[in-house]
Amino acid sequence: MSTVKAVVAASVVPRAAVASDAFGFWGTAARRLRAQRRAFVALTTLGIIVLACLLLPWLSPYDYFTPHLSMLSRPPMLSGGHLLGTDPLGRDLLIRVMWGCRISLGIGLAASLVSVLIGVSWGAGAGYAGGLTDAVMMRIVDILYSVPFVPFVIVLTVLFGRELWLIFVAIGAVSWLDIARIVRGQTLSLKQREFVEAARVAGVRGWGMIRRHIVPNLIGIVVVYATLTIPTVILFEAFLSFLGLGVHSPLASLGSMVADGASEMQSHPHLLIVPAAFLSVIVYCFNYLGDGLRDALDPHGAERGRS
């Protein structure tokens, strides 16, 4: 329990690592991020996975859809050409997983982009407008928070067909609420700053002000929350695919491969473990990267915690 003492003592000492302005915003951020070894490892791992899933399907002699009836459900082996084994139709598991990564990462990035676009414009608009507009817009966000989105997205994808674009628009449209709230809070405090007043005196109004002066100052926090949105989106897409509501076969996403693998796990555990491992590593890396970016770009956010 003497550790309470240590923590209290540590907090009394003023923080030494105050950002120096000499490197500029991104310079400081990059330096801080590099200082966090784990976040840097996460970034490198993600880079390798992205490169692999872009290049391997192109270099490999196998494709993700042609069945090979002489090679059913082979376990992973170093020789014989199938590094991670084959699936129950004899298709190379490595290539299928790489395609799954492409889909997961693609949907993750696209849907996060949608949610950032909606969230930033909604939050900055509400915060900058203030007054009744702000109250109404944030009340809408409050109501949407109580809407059970998972059933709605399931209904959407079931009823309107399993279109790939529909999936990420649906996910993006439901995950902007957090960003909108955070951005609004930041905008409220930015609005009081002198440079905004100066711009107003110079005649900048409305969306011009938001675009040129408010949003650029939000970039740090938006980058952090966008990075933390990507893994949630990837997990959500995997969840939909697991329920059989995602992409069409023969194309597979990591979620649908986990579902297929789970039904065969007693006889061929590699069919479950390989896609599950890739999914977890991708999400793990994005989470670590987001934590690292938050410490680097938004030092106060680290203590605020995430809910």
Binding site: M1, V8, P148, L159, L245, Q266, S280, V283
Partner: protein, 307 residues
Amino acid sequence: MLRYLLRRLLGAIPTLLVIATIAFLLLHAAPGGPFDADKRMLPEIQRAIEARYHLNEPLWRQYLRYLSDLAHGDLGPSFQYRSTSVNEIIAQGLPVDATVGLSALALALLLGGSIGVNAALHRNRRGDVVPMALAVLGISLPVFVIAPLLILIFAVDLHWLPAGDYVAGSLSHLVLPVMALAFPYTAYIARMMRASTLEVLSSPFVRTAYAKGLPPRLILWRHALRPTLTPLVSFLGPAVVGLVTGSIVIESVFSLPGIGRYFITAALNRDYTLVMGITVLYGALIILFNLLAELCYAWIDPRVRLR
């Protein structure tokens, strides 16, 4: 206090109305009707069935009829299971869901809370770094990966616990589902508790308590612990959403007779009333837990006034 509760419960009505309306419009805008699949049905019979369920009426009449039934607590007959009502289906499934969900939540709160506080007390040492790295892994492993892995280990390999074939009232059938559902929450809660404990321990009142010579153990238990619970309480609302999502997966993996399993088949079969009923139920649960969270706020922090 009573007035506050009453006002909040009245305030929930418009939100529920919005949820019911979106669900209604979405389902009726979708292509296909509940009785399209039965191709061998004579047109007269199909017309008679549609008249029986009032599907031949104009949309606004159906909408008003649905709302007035809803106001009387009647969710209507199920289109798919023609002899049962939606109320009966929910009454059968909800106890199972509630048992699994609440046990998982309680387990996650106890385990995650103690891990988080302990990690904060051992900041940046092995007792912090290792559990927190595991916690990031925990939020990166979705329920649908954990659940099959648990079955693989505890049911298939070790034969300790049953994997499926739920028997009513059997506790051993609930152990694995509760573990799988609690896993990601434990990780989330541990991360949150660590952040909030660090924040509270660095606040002036803890320093004062320390300065006046209070033993660290007493500082933690008597003063610091209660305010650290604040972010945990705000997590309660989102947690329920996650439990709902998780329960859909858990029920299909462990073949538990809950509600979530019905939801997807209901959406696939255009069982309008069942889909709407479950959606409204989920919405009501989220609102209820948000209200509970606010009551807890007032209990934790006496400065909060419920008005």
